[in-house]
Amino acid sequence: MNFDFSDDQKQLRDQARKFLTEKCSPKAVRVVLDGKAPYDKELWKGLAEMGFLGVAIPEEFGGAGAGHLELCVIAEEMGRANAPVPFSSTVYLAAEALLIAGSDAQKKKWLPAIASGEAIGTLALFEGKGNPAPNNVKLTAANGVLTGVKKPVPDGAIADFAVVAARIGSSGRDSDISLFLVDLKAGGVEVKSLTNLDPTRGQAEITFKDCKAEPLGAAGEGWSILTQVLDRAAVLCAFEQVGGSDRALEMGRDYALDRIAFGRQIGSFQAVKHMLADMYVSATLARSNSYYGAWALSTNAAELPEAAAAARISATQAFQHCAKNNIQVHGGMGFTWEFDCHMYYRRANAMALGLGSLSYWEDQLIDRMRKKNAA
């Protein structure tokens, strides 16, 4: 058994950490946080040059042709650094949708552009309140044009293209949904930026007005493809959340060691020690569940749906828990804009919703465990 990343993968993680420590300091994150740039273009370029954007994209499409385990370790570091770039929307959502369902031409057009950092992609799924469900897709596709409104679309305001979920029928079955590929720079869309919990990752409302679109995957296969995309993204996001959890825990630990109150390191008070111990417990459970997700993702195992849901839940809980209590360990200072704690709190709470809520994934997990048991 080798339920761990390989030495090469660990080396890649170290490399990514080193790169991000240099290029993505909290100061750099704050440029985007403070609204001075929609994302960190320099960092994005750097990530492309390092080969990180295309790490799981086959070589024939301009990527490094490594694999999903390699992408997992990079995702962890992106989360740890709270990187203000459209990595998750472009790499986990758009690129994965293309890899699963794209035609050769579509792959050739977009995947190399993703790997090189020239194209930002996203998934336009949600239409206001609600979780992933065919019934929530109201935007219609007819005669090759899309009509409707998507929100929130992650990184929608800076994306070059989007994978769009659209309704092609009203039978009440999953087959009512198809996916389409839309070049957002080609007209037919109105994009409006939305204020959101985590300003280091933009959200947008996109209105499609008779917008030209090409099908992605077979007609009526949209929901089945989406489910696969969301499962993969759940695992990859879990690694970001694990990275964020670990960083928040470290920040809290370091502060507890440095800060003196009542003549003692505050980390010598059991209330603080035990809060940090509990954060370690959450982070460790999340990491182990995510490793299982990584195994299932990388081997395309039948266990992926269950493993993805478990990783998603565990990592969401851990990141929210660690980010919240990191502020608490810091006391008043943790609640200032100046300290970095709130960046992780914002990211943790935004990520908890991005692929659908925790409640949604709880429900999914039980469905999937039942299916496995029935099988």
């Binding site: 609600g130 003196i260 608490q328 943790g334």
Partner: protein, 414 residues
């Protein structure tokens, strides 16, 4: 057991209700009613001006600082009358927020420790809202360890010269006066070298800078003191007795904030009552119901705990220790409630501000919530207080108890 007023209470309530009904700024009632944690400002007017006008109107008619003596601008009312007033004032009570520190902490401290002439000069305009006061205790190095403060006061003739930095000062930027805790002797153990003053916030050398909070808003300030001079007659209590003086202030803070703190439950229940989830009304979803029920009994538990304290006041008794749980319970609860409200919105919960569900009410609550577990005493300090003062458990081991302040380490590592 009953919830009825005594005849005197009923009479007082009727008088208060009639006056409020005739005089309150009703145009803001709706907005004030809809405020929640993280979102209290008025859109249509400057809340400071509205608040000052309402306070002055109350003072002119004898409804300001009800429990203060008349000669200092109050009404000489009983504690229960003060509670009845708050109940009747309802949403307009939100306008008193900017005066809470002055009325709840600075006033009582002045009353207990200032010279009679100062009381007669300073207290009435504090009561009427014409002058606003702030409290200058916390420091970056102090935190929960309030007595660990470093701002120095050094005697120079009849004056004291102040140098140092305070933090977490609510309303310092619009305050006229402040009470200030300083270190006058760093060579004795920390609790013994402190002295309290009050000062004019317009004094030369006082600089106020807003703190941007994690939520993006700025409710608090840092205040820097550079050779600020305070005449000795503005000292409150003896030199070296500042810690005891400050306890008067802090006791008032904790009970005041505990009473005012909100849980987020009424907002969540209202929201869930009309919310449709993907497969039906939220209120019919068993998971939602279970969570709501658990929060409901916390919210009602806090409500009836405070009713028990009010009953004690009504009987002329001192309320028991049970009120100390309010802030501890509500602080983390409102964070959980806000998190869950966003969960119910699914992916769109990430949208904040005007484009969001309910104009971002729960998003604002979530971002403001971490502060509730810290301000006015962290959760950990509140648990210590309950354990020690209510249950009689031993205090934490104090390694700095007998150590001269300037020998206490200031950094945990290298």
């Amino acid at each position: 057991m009953n919830f009825d007023d005594t005849p005197q209470e009923a009479e007082f309530r009727a008088t208060a209700r009639a006056w409020i009904s005739a005089n309150a700024p009703k145009q803001y009632e709706d907005e004030l009613r809809k405020s929640s944690l993280g979102r209290t400002a008025l859109k249509s007017a400057d809340i400071l001006e509205v608040a000052k006008a309402w306070q002055k109107k109350k003072a002119d008619a004898g409804w300001a600082c009800l429990h203060w003596p008349k000669e200092y601008g109050g009404r000489g009312s009983s504690p229960i009358e003060r509670v009845i007033w708050q109940q009747e004032e309802g949403p307009f009570g939100q306008l008193s927020r900017m005066f809470i520190i002055g009325h709840g902490m600075c006033g009582p401290t002045m009353m207990a420790f200032a010279r009679e002439e100062h009381k007669r000069t300073y207290l009435p305009p504090l009561a009427s809202g014409e002058k606003v006061w702030c409290q200058l205790f916390s420091e970056p190095a102090g935190g929960s360890d309030v007595a660990g403060l470093r701002t120095r006061a050094e005697k120079d003739g009849d004056d004291w010269v102040i140098n140092g930095q305070k933090i977490w000062t609510s309303g310092a930027h619009y305050s006229d006066y402040g009470i200030l805790l300083t270190r006058t002797d760093p060579t004795v153990p920390k609790h013994k070298g402190l002295t309290m003053f009050f000062l004019d916030m317009k004094s030369p050398g006082v600089e106020v800078r807003p703190i941007k909070q994690a939520s993006g808003a700025s409710d608090f300030n840092e205040v820097y003191f550079t050779n600020v001079r305070i005449p000795d007659h503005q000292r409150l209590g003896e030199v070296g007795d500042g810690w005891n003086v400050s306890l008067t202030t802090l006791m008032n803070e904790r009970s005041a904030i505990g009473a005012a703190v909100s849980t987020g439950f009424p907002e969540l229940f209202e929201y869930c009552s009309s919310l449709m989830l993907d497969d039906g009304p939220a209120i019919e979803d068993r998971a939602v119901r279970s969570k709501l029920a658990n929060w409901a009994v916390k919210a009602s538990g806090l409500k009836y705990t405070s009713m028990r304290a009010i009953s004690a006041l009504s009987k002329g008794e001192r309320p028991g220790p049970e009120n100390s749980i309010g802030k501890l319970v509500a602080g983390s609860m409102i964070q959980d409630v806000a998190t869950y409200a966003l969960d119910l919105q699914g992916a769109s919960g990430v949208i904040s501000g005007e484009d969001a569900e309910l104009a971002g009410r729960f998003q604002a609550m979530l971002l403001r919530a971490p502060g509730t577990r810290v301000e006015g005493g962290t959760d950990e300090i509140m648990r210590n207080i309950i354990a020690e003062r209510v249950l009689g458990l031993p205090g934490d081991i104090r390694v700095d108890k007998d150590v001269p302040f300037n020998k206490i380490p200031t950094k945990g590592r290298g």
